[in-house]
């Protein structure tokens, strides 16, 4: 789950005739949907370069340490994973691993553990070994009475390709995969954002140079998905205990090993496994050029050079684009997208624009721990009091989808039957009164126990979209007797206020994968300040759903759990005021062809692009 930014703007799903739409489904994706010459066929050819806009600087590319979605975007082209979902079918396929075996674990009452393909044979479980170098040399029957529990899909054995090289020419092998997991076991290595996820893997075996086996401690619905975050690291450059390392030190202690990772210059000057290798690394500009020894010629990309350029401010980036200094920006505000800046000949001669659905949700978390916001009736009243549809129609040209949950609206886990609460200020007033809030002193602000209903709303200073939204919100709330006080702050201060739960309400957003694990957002264990449960929701029913879904490996059953939880959260708890779901608005040079919009983040693959001139 990605927290994209508080700079959530307005969605543009429906208006443009060629829009990709808010429904994204697995299957073939059409190319160049928005290109004015989309009917014209071009034969892809190698050569040229593209420059892509980065809205924020990227400190480093070592994802376990940097934890940045933009670093992940760059890594898509300069690195490879063991397995990854196919852009179009969403099915996992092998990349560095040409195949993998999935086995189950049978936990025995005597403390033992068997793994293999486990089949129900009436009174027994049959355990059949599948992967190589297996501790069982033949199938084994286990009485059900001897088994403590069965954990499905908990052992993964990856068979690695043998033709893969790091960008410095060093061969890739199982040691690099193991290191990608081992770093999470060293508490001195600064990879805490992913640590608890990888600690679900209790053991990793290096079977041989090209075979690695991972053992999960228990059944986990995202067991395979987690390997999308497992970044193989070049052991010969990162691991002091590797004899191939220039500073090889078999006596190196945990701290020294950690320092070699934390302070490694290759965290920025990345040495990877992808079709492009980093040739220049600066937080403002990353340059990657074709890596001729890339193992998969069919996916080696067409352009010779890719640049990721950070420019401060979306407006400046648009200027730079029109000046020919950028070729692609996926960050256009609504004003920029709808305005003259992308409609006049200066733009349309060389560029075109479009949208694509992107997993995200814009919302205002209510701090349910504040006494005046603790009553769900108050939060529901606040949802009824604002006409979100009118806001969308009048401020966003009638575009956008209003979410009612924290799954991407195109996710199979999203409950489309849960509709936004209707705009009804009368109902809002009634709900407030029911909760004990009405105007006792004639100042047009409702009050209770002598305290007026005042809500402080934190926004990013200088953000036009947020400013317009909060102005309208303030006016609407005033009509039902609620005083909204808008406090613009800089981003670090907002983070601190959120982390300390020192807020009433705030404008923010989440980026969402195809299926979002709701534990981070709603489980009671994450309601401490600083965790993702900003609103401070504590509800045993929600915790139970989350724990049930966490173990449920049948997707359809799991989606049903998430959908029911979404309904309950929206209708009974109402911890967020949801805004429009944001599709990405992009601008692109006409000379680039092969653009496809995918439901998987970042929504495009540069290595599929080619130039026509």
């Amino acid at each position: 789950m990605l927290k994209t930014s508080t700079l959530a703007l307005i969605a543009l799903f429906l208006a443009l005739p060629a829009t990709v739409g808010d429904e994204v489904e697995p299957g073939p994706v059409e190319k160049d949907v928005f290109h004015p010459d989309r009917g014209k066929e071009f034969e892809p050819g190698r050569g040229g370069s593209v420059t892509v806009f980065l809205p924020t600087s990227v400190r480093m590319l070592a994802l376990p340490l940097s934890n940045s979605s933009y670093a992940r975007n760059i890594l898509h082209e300069v690195h490879e994973l063991l397995v990854a979902p196919d852009w179009e079918t969403w099915e996992f396929k092998g990349v560095l691993a040409h195949r993998w075996d999935t086995e189950d674990s049978l936990i025995l009452k005597d403390g033992g553990r068997l793994f293999g393909k486990v089949v129900d044979e009436g009174e027994n479980w049959s355990v059949t070994p599948i992967s190589p170098e297996h501790p069982l040399d033949a199938p084994r029957m286990v009485k059900k009475t001897d088994a403590e529990s069965l954990e499905r899909g908990t052992v993964f054995t990856f068979h690695l390709r043998k033709d893969v090289k790091w960008h410095d020419g060093h061969p890739f092998d199982a040691g690099d995969v193991v290191l990608g997991w081992e770093i999470y076991n060293n508490p001195e290595i600064q990879c805490d954002s992913f640590r608890s996820s990888f600690q679900k893997i209790e053991r990793v075996e290096r079977i041989d140079d090209y075979t690695v086996r991972f053992h999960y401690s228990r059944q986990y619905h995202k067991a395979l998905d987690l390997f999308r975050s497992l970044i193989c690291l070049p052991s010969h450059l990162y691991n002091l205990l590797d004899p191939d390392h220039a500073d090889y030190d078999p006596e190196a202690d945990e701290r020294a090993v950690a320092r070699a990772v934390n302070e490694n210059p290759h965290n920025s000057n990345w040495v990877g496994l992808g079709p492009y290798r980093i040739t220049s690394a600066d937080p403002m500009l990353y340059v990657a050029e074709r890596f001729e020894d890339y193992f998969d010629p069919e996916n080696a990309g067409w352009v010779d050079r890719i640049r990721w350029r950070h420019i401060r401010g979306w407006e400046t980036a648009l200027e730079a684009l029109k000046n020919g200094e950028l070729d692609f920006s996926a960050w256009l505000s609504t004003d920029m997208y709808m305005g003259a800046g992308t409609s006049d000949a200066n733009f349309t001669d060389d560029f075109y624009k479009g949208t694509y659905a992107y997993g995200s949700v814009n919302f205002t978390p209510w701090n349910t721990r504040r006494s005046h916001l603790s009553d769900p009736r108050v939060r529901r009243a606040l949802a009824h009091a604002f006409d979100m549809e009118a806001y969308r129609d009048q401020q966003c040209g009638g575009l956008g989808v209003i979410s009612t949950g924290t799954q991407a609206t195109f996710s199979p886990a999203y409950n489309r039957a849960v509709l936004p609460l209707e705009y009804d200020q009368g109902k809002a007033v009634d709900l407030l009164a029911e909760a004990g809030w009405y105007d006792r002193d004639g100042d047009d602000i409702v009050d209770k126990d002598g305290v007026p209903l005042e809500i402080e709303y934190l926004t990013i200073a200088g953000h036009k979209g947020d400013r317009e939204f909060t102005e309208l919100l303030k006016k609407s709330y005033r009509k039902v007797g609620v005083d909204l006080m808008v406090t613009p702050l800089d981003h670090p201060t907002i983070i601190q206020r959120l982390k300390e739960r020192d807020f009433d309400a705030c404008s923010t957003s989440w980026g969402l994968p195809l299926e979002s694990n709701q534990e981070q957002l709603w489980h009671t264990k994450n309601d401490q300040p600083g965790r993702g449960n900003y609103s401070g929701v504590r509800d045993p029913r929600i915790d139970a759903w989350i724990e049930q879904a966490d173990r449920e490996i049948d997707p359809q059953k799991r989606y049903a759990i998430w959908k029911e939880m979404q309904r309950y959260l929206y209708e009974e708890v109402q911890p967020y005021l949801y805004r429009n779901t944001v599709p990405r608005r992009f601008a692109m040079s006409k000379k680039i062809r092969g653009f496809q919009a995918f439901g998987i983040s970042p929504g495009y693959s540069i290595r599929r692009w080619f130039l026509t001139d």
């Binding site: 640590r195 210059p265 400046t316 000046n323 200066n346 601190q496």
Partner: protein, 340 residues
């Protein structure tokens, strides 16, 4: 100089501590970062420990100043492991970035100086080149339409905020209107494919708007100072004597008046140069240039105390050096001044 420098570091350090926002939070809750998926308290504590953010302020400051490294890897006298006993400003060590610990701030500053200093020097040179003739000509045409018009225009230019000037220049000369000049960066994205001469002209083209922005304010200020200084001088008795001798006005001003009026204008070097370096924060941000101004901005937004302290200390040192150079230049211009 030393007490001034110490004062500046103390002030900067204190101000940074007053700014809300915790760098450790930004390490894990960055704008685009995935949510916390587990227990990151340990990571936060480790980050704070390694960067001394959990230590008293006086200890953090002394660590920055040096020469003892007070971190856990620092001097054994202060409880460190002794791995890296020495460090700090006194030894020319400005520390490492919080979020890219493999990057030393001094190296990064030196790399970025290659952008900021040429930019500032170009702007300074142009400011003097334009301001001196304008000031002199205004004096020679005192009270004329030219003098009045130049006064009004220069006053307007002086009043223009630098960020606004930068944006206006971008909008005017960029693709929005004239489309004559590049609006961001130091080089074209395809500069590597150009010839050496092509690359040179490309860089020059990229520098025009940032240099123009930096020049506007300094030039306007200098020209007014030049005019005022020269007007003071030409009212002196010896100028009257020169005129009485029958010298032309041009000779009176240029030969007798100019040198004596240059002193105060040159002294302004010490004011203008630091202002240009300071102005680079805006110019480099708007034009997206990788100089120390944009580095300071980055440090501030990331709450990287060491980056902010490093850039500030560096700018302070440049200011102090400029003041020293100006004092020496003063003595060179005016033989009556001698330093003991």
């Amino acid at each position: 100089m030393i007490p001034t420098l110490i004062g500046i570091t103390v002030l900067t350090f204190a101000v940074m501590q007053l700014v809300p926002g915790d760098p450790a939070d930004l390490r894990f809750f960055a704008e685009d970062s995935p949510l916390d998926t587990g227990n990151i308290e340990q990571g936060l504590a480790q980050f704070r420990r390694e960067n001394l953010l959990d230590q008293p302020l006086w200890r953090q400051y002394l660590h920055y100043v040096g020469p003892f490294d007070l971190s856990e890897r620092g001097h054994t006298w202060f409880g460190g492991s002794g791995e890296a006993p020495w460090g700090g400003l006194l030894l020319g060590d400005l520390g490492r970035e919080f979020f890219r610990p493999h990057v030393t701030i001094l190296d990064e500053l030196l790399r970025r100086l290659r952008v900021t200093v040429p930019l500032a020097l170009c702007a300074l040179f142009l400011s003097y080149l334009l301001a001196l003739p304008l000031g002199i000509y205004s004096v020679m045409r005192q009270g004329s339409f030219f003098d009045v018009a130049a006064g009004v225009i220069v006053f307007l230019l002086y009043s223009v905020p630098m960020f606004w000037a930068a944006l206006m220049l971008q909008l005017t000369f960029g693709s929005n209107w004239l489309g004559l000049l590049p609006v961001i960066g130091l080089a074209d994205k395809d500069a590597a494919e150009l010839s050496t001469f092509g690359q040179f002209t490309d860089v020059l083209a990229h520098l025009i708007l940032p240099v123009a922005t930096l020049t506007v304010g300094g030039f306007a200020y200098l020209s007014r100072q030049m005019r005022a200084g020269l007007l003071d001088v030409i009212r002196e008795d010896y100028i009257r004597t020169a005129r009485a001798k029958g010298l032309s006005e041009r000779k009176v001003v240029l030969k007798h008046g100019l040198r004596n009026s240059l002193g105060p204008v040159l002294t302004l070097f010490a004011t203008i140069m630091p202002a240009l370096i300071g102005g680079s924060v805006i110019v480099e941000s708007v034009f997206d240039l990788p100089g120390i101004g944009s580095y300071a901005y980055y440090g501030l937004m990331q709450r990287d105390y060491f980056v902010v302290m490093g850039t500030t200390t560096f700018s302070a040192m440049i200011t102090l050096v400029c003041i020293l150079v100006t004092d020496l230049a003063y003595a060179w211009i005016d033989p009556r001044i001698r330093y003991e």
